[in-house]
């Protein structure tokens, strides 16, 4: 039954879109279609939320992200749901590796028949799972992973969009690493030597390549004195840290996250690395909260966009204050960037459904939601995001230096040295590869 009804709606929806685009402006035609299918199912809308619930990435990323999904679903349900339908949230674990995630996504779509998957922190998982959206015909929204390769083709300009039904409601790692390069140019104009230590998979590799390209353009005199690629979840970084100290760079670039960032930072403290160089953490925003007051001061931290619990200042942007307060009340911690990313994902979906639904009157099909999501702009606790034609969101980039204050039990971003790079400075134009764009500067 379910299948036939859905199919029917899909066909009808296709007709509606067809009619809508062909006869845009012709209201009569449109209303006729609306009448035909102004139906909203009674059962809840099934949203699968996939984040790390176990393992080393759970505490700093997966759990905050999933908490936010839960908190916001409750909030949306309390306010009447999406077009009257309550959200049924299926929280799933992202652990187990790429292959397990491909299988899980297939099960969610084909067996559980979810309406949308909002998920994925790991870039590897994103790259593996997003192709399933088109293959299996369901909406998949990447909410946190960073690799720019996800939506880019192999050459510029690339066909847009890459996936009909695959989206990402956050900016790419291009923003993080271009931003870091801009920070270094501004605050350390005289340095000569840089090095990189990054986890050995898509995320680490792509982060470093963007950073390296940006540095070449912005500070051509700087020399790369070494790159290290420890595998994810390495427990002993002493050899890498000693090698870094031996290579004596001025600044070390790293895209470490989660437990790797914690282990590396702790062991680097033990070996005295921070006495000799500055570390630039591309998405370091949650790490000081994880480590506490031991986290060294004056290190460069990126916020994966403009996501910080103190930015935009809460007195100036009530949405952030509200979000931070609700989250802190419920979970006893300040929201970190994965929380903001989760917010962007679930509200983008809600807005897209409502936008598509308002055109047709009924519950929109997957394709209609995808259409509505393209070009969507919404307000978030961090400001605004826009989802462009390449199905990727763009946002501003926030960067700063750690500083210990008396108010918080962990270093915060030094308010004196906060930098916000506008969207167009840290995101390439639609259809242009990030690397090609950097090379065109």
């Amino acid at each position: 039954m379910e299948k036939t009804r859905r199919d029917f709606i899909k066909i009808a929806g296709g007709a509606a879109i067809g009619a809508g685009t062909l006869l845009s402006g012709c209201r009569e035609e449109e209303e006729k279609v609306v009448e035909k299918r102004g139906e909203i199912p009674k059962e809840p809308v099934k949203i699968a939320a996939v984040s790390f619930l176990t393992g080393v990435a759970a505490a700093p990323f997966g759990i905050p992200g999933n908490n936010t999904f839960e908190m916001l679903s409750e909030k949306i349900n309390a306010d009447g749901g999406i077009m009257g339908r309550k959200i049924e949230l299926l929280s799933k674990d992202e652990a187990g590796g790429v292959d397990a995630q491909v299988k899980l996504a297939r099960k969610l779509i084909l067996d559980d028949k979810v309406d949308v998957i909002l998920g994925y922190i790991s870039s590897a998982d994103c790259k593996a799972v997003l192709p399933l959206s088109d293959e299996l015909g369901d909406l998949i929204v990447a909410y946190d992973c960073g690799t720019q390769e996800l939506m880019e083709g192999s050459h510029s300009p690339f066909p847009v969009p890459k996936y009909e039904l695959g989206f990402r409601t956050a900016a790419t790692l291009g923003l993080d690493n271009i931003g870091l390069a801009l920070m270094i140019k501004k605050y350390f104009p005289d340095i000569k030597r840089i090095a990189g230590i990054n986890p050995d998979y898509a995320w680490g590799r792509d982060s470093w390549s963007i950073f390296e390209e940006s540095m070449k353009k912005l500070m051509p005199q700087v020399e790369v004195v070494g790159t290290w690629w420890p595998p994810l979840f390495t427990t002993d970084y002493t050899a890498h840290i000693s090698a870094l100290i031996g290579a004596a760079p001025d600044i070390v670039h790293t895209a470490f996250w989660g437990g790797d960032a914690v282990t590396f930072t702790k062991q680097a403290l033990g070996l005295g690395l921070f006495d000799k160089m500055t570390v630039a953490y591309s998405r370091g925003e949650p790490i000081p909260q994880e480590i506490g007051k031991d986290f060294p001061e004056n290190q460069i931290i990126g916020c994966a966009g403009p996501h910080y619990f103190l930015y935009p200042p809460q007195d100036k942007w009530p949405l952030n204050k509200q979000f931070v307060d609700e989250y802190q009340k419920k979970y006893g911690k300040y929201p970190t960037y994965p929380c903001y990313h989760a917010y962007q994902a679930i509200y983008s979906y809600k807005a897209a459904v409502e936008k598509a639904g308002s055109l047709t009157g009924g519950w929109p099909t997957v394709d209609e939601v995808a259409d509505a999501m393209t070009g969507l702009a919404i307000q978030t606790p961090s400001g605004n995001i826009t989802i462009r034609a390449d199905h990727n969101a763009i946002e501003d980039g926030l960067f700063g230096f750690t500083k210990l204050t008396s108010k918080y039990p962990f270093p915060i971003l030094d308010p004196e040295r906060i930098e916000v790079f506008p969207t167009f400075v840290v995101n390439p134009p639609v259809g242009i590869r990030t690397v090609d764009w950097i090379n065109s500067w």
Binding site: V98, D111, E135, L136, D200
Partner: protein, 330 residues
Amino acid sequence: MNLKRFIFNKRSLIYLVVLIFLLIIPFILSPFNLILFESAITFAIVGLGFNLLLRYTGLLSFGHGAYFAAGAYAVAMVGRYVPSIYSIEFLIPIAIIASLVLSAIFGFICVRHTKIFFAILTLALSMLLFALLFKFYSVTGGSDGLYIPTPSIFGVTFKRRPEFLSGPYYYFLLVIFIICYMVMKVIVSSPFGKALQAIRDNETRAELIGIRVKRYRFYAFIISGTFAGIGGSLWTFVNGHVTPDVSHWFFSGEIVYMTLLGGFFIFEGPIIGAFVFTFLKLYAMGFTEYWMGIIGVTLILLVLLLPTGLAGGVVTIFNKLKTRKVLGGT
């Protein structure tokens, strides 16, 4: 003679029933379960090859994932670097060659040993391949693995994967599976197969009757590895993605488990094991987050209580019933 004919007929009847069942599967199963079923078929092919070593040559490989990976990565690499020949009729032969070459290299090292040494060596070598696939990020995609696009079959292309998997690919897979089944069936009953069993039973004696023990182990290893490679290449199309995990010893352990679950004493055992394992794992995963524990406990119970596996257990019960009947008759 009549009795023989009767048995022959009964056996061919079973084959016929199974075949008809296999032919109508796509009309019975939901797309999701069909995909699982297809991946089970690919594992069944791997199990057939694996059991040539375990059951018929007496060698326990804990690194069969490596040859599976060879087949799978052959497909992925062609897809990445030579997309112009990304068509199933080219991909399968390429995968066969890749896994054949790899199993020849690794086999050359491993067949000098038996028992636990063989197991450890195969494990170590598969981990070597794992490390290489993992480290050479720019070539292999590292731990991210590689995306496997939907291939064309004899010039026909497909847009969405379910459409590909639920129709032509299923029957293609079925044909390959039946060929593999028959080839392996003949191999184990051929003089060559008998030679392997002789080596398994008594290496010294086998040498004495003029069998070059190491060489025959080597041949068996290559055949076994190639079957794993064929299974691996077919599996990639179902899965749509391949990562170095398939060369990890953990994955090889699953192949061993599958074979044991079905019962390695019986030719069809690994096939049954592949199907039961695939669905058991899925339903254990759906039923509880502690599915690994469930798999572990079933494995322990199997080893302790039912070492001949499911098929072996059924045969034992069947034989018991038969003896009782005979006894009752006299």
